[in-house]
Symmetry: C2
Subunit: 376 residues, 2 copies
Amino acid sequence: MVYRKNYNFSDYLVSLDSIIILENIDGECPMVKGNKYGTHRVIEPEGTLPQPAFKISNDMTIYDNEILIDVDYLNIDSASFTQLKEEARGDLEKIKKKIMSIVQERGKMQNPVTGSGGMLIGKVEKIGSALKDKIDLNVGDEIATLVSLSLTPLKIENIMDINPDIDRVEIDGKAILFESGIYAKLPEDMEDTLALAALDVAGAPAQVKNLVKKGDYVLILGATGKSGLMCSYMAKKMVGENGKVIGQARNEARAEFLKETGFCHEVIIADVLNPTNVLVEVLDVNDGDEVDIAINCLSIPNSELSSILPVKDKGIVYFFSMATSFTKAALGAEGIGKDVTMIIGNGYTKNHAQITLDLLRESDTLRKIFDEKYVN
Amino acid sequence: MVYRKNYNFSDYLVSLDSIIILENIDGECPMVKGNKYGTHRVIEPEGTLPQPAFKISNDMTIYDNEILIDVDYLNIDSASFTQLKEEARGDLEKIKKKIMSIVQERGKMQNPVTGSGGMLIGKVEKIGSALKDKIDLNVGDEIATLVSLSLTPLKIENIMDINPDIDRVEIDGKAILFESGIYAKLPEDMEDTLALAALDVAGAPAQVKNLVKKGDYVLILGATGKSGLMCSYMAKKMVGENGKVIGQARNEARAEFLKETGFCHEVIIADVLNPTNVLVEVLDVNDGDEVDIAINCLSIPNSELSSILPVKDKGIVYFFSMATSFTKAALGAEGIGKDVTMIIGNGYTKNHAQITLDLLRESDTLRKIFDEKYVN
C-alpha cells in the first residue's frame, strides 16, 4: 500500500509495507519515508510505538524525515542511573559494559528495570530531505533531545567517560531523532549543564503559563523543588496584581528559603500526606477560601487528596508528579464530591524549552539557585 | 479551638478539638458540628480522610451536618464481590460472616484486598439540623448513595440475603452520609436496578456533556460498554450536525450492535492495544484528520497511547478507564511530542445523576439495552 505524500494521511504511514522509495538525493543512499512517530523502526513487538517497544532498529541510515545526531553525552535519567550504579556496585567499568549491552540488545538506552531513559546532547550531522525546509535546524547545530532516550535509536562505538555525580556518559556514537521528536538548540548564553537542568523540567512552567490566568489563586505543592520553583515563578507572573501564589514547603528551613526567593505571595508549611493539614494552612493564608488551581510538583506518592481538597468546585488540579496514582486521584475526588478538573502533567507543550530557558534569563534569583543547586 | 459558624472557615473543622457543641434540638440528643468530609469520624490513621482511613467511627448518633440512612441493600462493587466470592469459594454464609467482620473492624464496608466499596440504597431516617434547609431531601425519601461504601460509616444488625448474580446484599442496618456526600433520589418512573446500573457510571456522560462542544470530532474508545454507550449517545447530542462521533468496537459483532444503536456517526473495529491500528482506522473514517477529543471508556490496561495518538495538537484526551496508568499517559504523550490536555475522569460532577437518568428517559434504545444487559 502506497500513499501519496500530498495526502494528509501520509504523515501516518504505519508499517514497512507503506514505505515510499524516493529518488537518490545529494548523492547519499536513497532515503525512504518513515513514520512520523518512528513506528517503522519498531522490531518487536509489532504495532507498538518505539517507547513501549522492546527492540528498535538502530541502523544509522536515516529515513527522509529523520535527523542524524553525532552524540557527545548521554544524560541517563536519575532513576535509571541509580539502578545501574547499584547493580554494578559502583564499578564504572561494569556500568559501561551494561550500557553497551543494553543498547546492543534494544537499539536504545532504555533501562530494562526502570523502563526509563534520559536525554542526549550532540551535533546535528544530517537532516532528512523531507525535513530540511520544515525545521529551524542546520547541520552542525548543538542540540539536546527532549524526547526520552527510551525511544531514541542509538548506536555507541565507545564509552569514553562516566561522571557518576551528574549521571553523564561521554560517548562516541550516533542517534536518530524522529519527525515527531522534540529538541532544543543549546543556548550560547548559558552553560550546557544549566540549560539541561532547566530543560529537564521544561514541561512544568510552560504548562503553568497556559493554565494560570490573571487573578487566579494558585497553590504550588512542592514549591521548593526544581519544577516547583519554576512553576511558582511563572505562576506569580501570570496571576498579576490581584492573584495570589501560595507555595508549600515541608519545614521551616525550606519555607525560609522559599520566602527569600520572593516567588510566592504566601508560604505555608504543611505535611502533604495530611490533606486536612494542607487545607487548613491554605485557608489560613487565603481568607478562608479555596484556591482556583493546585499544581502538584512533589515527587512522593499519596499526595493526591492534598492537591484536590484545597481547590474550589470547578477548579483545576494539575499533577506534574510522576508519583501520582490515577485511581487515587479519580476515587479521591469522587469520594469527597469535588467537581474539579484533574489534569495529567504532559512533559511536552509547544515552545516549552524556550519558555523555560527564558525564565533563567529573566530572573537572576532563579538562575542563581539553579547554578548553585543543580549544576555540577 | 472553636470557630464561629458564620466564618467561612467553619466548614472545614478538622479535628475533634474543634467541635462546637450546639443546643439540644428537637428533643434529640445534642448534635455536634462535624467536618464536611467526615474527618471527625476517622479513627486511624490520624489526618487522613475517611476513604484512605483504615478505621472510621460507625457510631450512629449523627453530627448536625450528617444524614442517617436506614439501609435496605448494599451493592458491593464488582471487584470486591468477586474477591469475596473467591475467598469464600462461593459459600454465601462465609461471605456474610466476612462482610460482618469487615464492617465491625473498619466501621465501613471496604474490601481489605481490593480497597473498593460499592453503593447503598436506603431510606432517609434523620437529617442533621444544619443540613435541613440546605438540601432537597426529606425523611422517608428513598436514595442511592453516590459516594463509595469505602468511606461510608455503616452498622449492620443482620444480613438477610445475598444475591450473588448482581452483587447485592440485603441488610438490616444503618449508614451515615457526610455533608459532602453525594446521593440520588431513586426515580419513580424506573426500576431501582435500572437506575442503579445507570448511576454506577453517572460521571461519564455528565462529563462528556461539559466537555464536548458543537462541531467537535470525538472518538469513543470502548463505545460498546456501559459507560461507552452513554458517552456515545451524549457526545452525538453535543456535537450537533457538523460534528462527528466515532465509536470503537473490538470485533464485527460488537461493531454491528453499535451501528444498530445509531449512537455514533462512524463505527471502527480496532485493537486498542495497537495504537497505530487505532490511528489508521480513525483517519480512514475522518478524511485523514485527527479528532478533537478522545474519550477512553475501556476497562483494560495499556490503552493510553491508543487514546493519545488519534488526537490533534491542543486536543483533549479524557480517561474514564480506572485501568489508566498516570505515567504511561504522561510519558506517552511526551514521547510522541503531543501537546494534548489529558484529563483524569472524575466520577463526580454537578447534577451527574440527573443528567444520566434523563438519558434513559430520553432514549428508548438506550433504555432497552440497559434493561436487557444490565438489569437482573
